[in-house]
């Protein structure tokens, strides 16, 4: 058995990875939802830092915007309901279940580690092939080329998942979505300053994604945040609910399918892009995807946070408790 020496690794790398592992364990082990959510938010932030370290700036931006921003906001908004009390398990049973889980986890980890130890430190063949083909894709950024040209079937299916999630959330949120009646002077100023800045930032991320880190998903997350802030500040037009919002969400999916059909008609292969119009096609599809994802994320947030009157009374009672415990 080889001795594990840490001489080849940078101290900062070890620290960041250790912090990520510790926050991951905290996020799953803390019994109260509030603590687990906070640990998860820190985990997401450290993960974004780690992605920048691993030379994946696109993924870092997306993790910060979607993992920490949107998923974190959804989880924090879910805290307004009091955590239901779990029926007490017999103590011995609890210990036994944890022990079995730990044992199975250790076995799985050992198996995974054995597989991983066989991997070499040289990159696989697919990477250089993809990088070489980028100049024939219509854009100059490799990730956008892969997402919107080489593997755009994956992106099509991903946008389908987002559409289904948004439709499902809209169908299940029986309660009316809370409307903000009197936003107050501070919120009105926020709406005027922040929302246009965020929309502009989303547009910039979208266009810059063709040659630098950026792209439709990051821009969609920022646009979703802009819509949520606009709704919470009382902007009536930003109510991402109902038929009109669903139309915008589904439009992205339908446009993508249409693009696939055009590719089939022109080049004979479903979803293939001809180099002469690839850039225009990619940019227009990305624009529609940005709008779709933004509206879908706003719909998910508003549907997940909608309250009826009983829950509103709960949250008013829970707020002082949360403030004291936090």
């Amino acid at each position: 058995m080889t001795v594990i020496a840490f001489s080849d690794v940078d101290v900062l790398d070890v620290l960041v990875v250790a912090a990520v592992a510790v926050t991951a364990i905290l996020a799953i082990a803390i019994p109260r939802r509030v603590g687990a959510t906070i640990a998860f938010l820190v985990f997401g932030l450290l993960l974004a830092l780690l992605w920048a370290r691993v030379a994946a700036p696109d993924v870092a931006i997306a993790e910060a915007a979607l993992g920490g921003g949107v998923a974190g906001a959804l989880l924090v908004d879910a805290l307004h309901r009091r955590q239901p009390a779990q029926p007490k398990r017999d103590h011995r049973r609890a210990v036994a279940i944890t022990a079995v889980g730990a044992a199975l986890g250790a076995v799985t980890f050992a198996a995974l580690a054995t597989v991983l130890s066989r991997l070499t430190a040289e990159p696989a063949d697919l990477g250089p092939l993809a990088l070489e083909a980028v100049e024939r894709s219509g854009v100059s950024h490799p990730i956008t080329a892969v997402l919107l040209n080489f593997r755009n079937l994956d992106t099509l299916l991903e946008i389908a998942v987002v559409v289904f999630a948004a439709v499902g959330a809209a169908a299940l949120s029986r309660d009316r979505i809370r409307t903000v009646t009197d936003p107050g002077p501070v919120r009105r100023v926020i709406a005027v300053i922040i929302v246009p800045a965020l929309v502009l930032l989303a547009a910039w991320l979208l266009v810059a994604g063709t040659s630098e880190p950026g792209g439709a998903f990051q821009a969609g997350a920022v646009l979703g945040a802009a819509l949520i802030i606009a709704h919470l500040c009382g902007v009536r037009a930003a109510r991402a609910a109902g038929g009109r919002a669903l139309v915008l969400v589904v439009a992205g999916l339908l446009a993508f399918i249409l693009l696939g059909g055009i590719g089939l008609a022109v080049t004979g292969t479903w979803l293939a892009l001809d180099l002469s119009w690839a850039f225009a096609a990619i940019l227009s599809i990305e624009t529609l995807l940005t709008v779709s994802i933004g509206v879908a994320l706003a719909m998910l947030f508003l549907a997940a946070g909608s309250r009826d009157d009983a829950a509103a009374a709960d949250s008013a009672a829970a707020a002082p408790a949360l403030g004291g415990a936090a």
Binding site: V186, R187, I194, A197, A316, A319, P320, G323, G324, A326
Partner: protein, 107 residues
């Protein structure tokens, strides 16, 4: 160049100090209002110092229009963080105050 390096490191260290101080305040202060006070002031100041240090380092090592663009983006980040933190603090304290007033009103 060494003077600029020392300045950059000093600004970074000061920024980190203020952020840590804000976090210590968040953990140690007794109630919501004082915690918001600590975090919203110290964290934003620390962020501003770190952003200044990065901007300075970039302008010295790679001067040019690209660097000016990055400095402008750093300034934008700081301004957005400032507005967001201030608005957040106001809204959190306001909603807490309203909840307190409601519980006081039901004798």
């Amino acid at each position: 160049m060494v003077i600029v390096d020392v300045l950059v490191i000093t600004l970074l260290a000061a920024g980190v100090f203020f952020v840590v101080a804000g976090t210590v305040g968040l953990l140690r202060f007794p109630d919501l209002a004082s915690r918001l006070h600590a975090v919203s002031k110290a964290d934003v100041l620390g962020l501003g110092l770190i952003a200044t240090a990065l901007a300075l380092h970039l302008l010295i090592t790679e001067p040019g229009w690209a660097a000016v663009g990055v400095v402008a983006k750093l300034a934008l980040i700081w301004i957005l963080a400032l507005i967001g933190t201030a608005a957040n603090a106001y809204l959190m304290a306001g909603s807490r105050r309203r909840a307190e007033v409601e519980t006081e009103e039901e004798p």
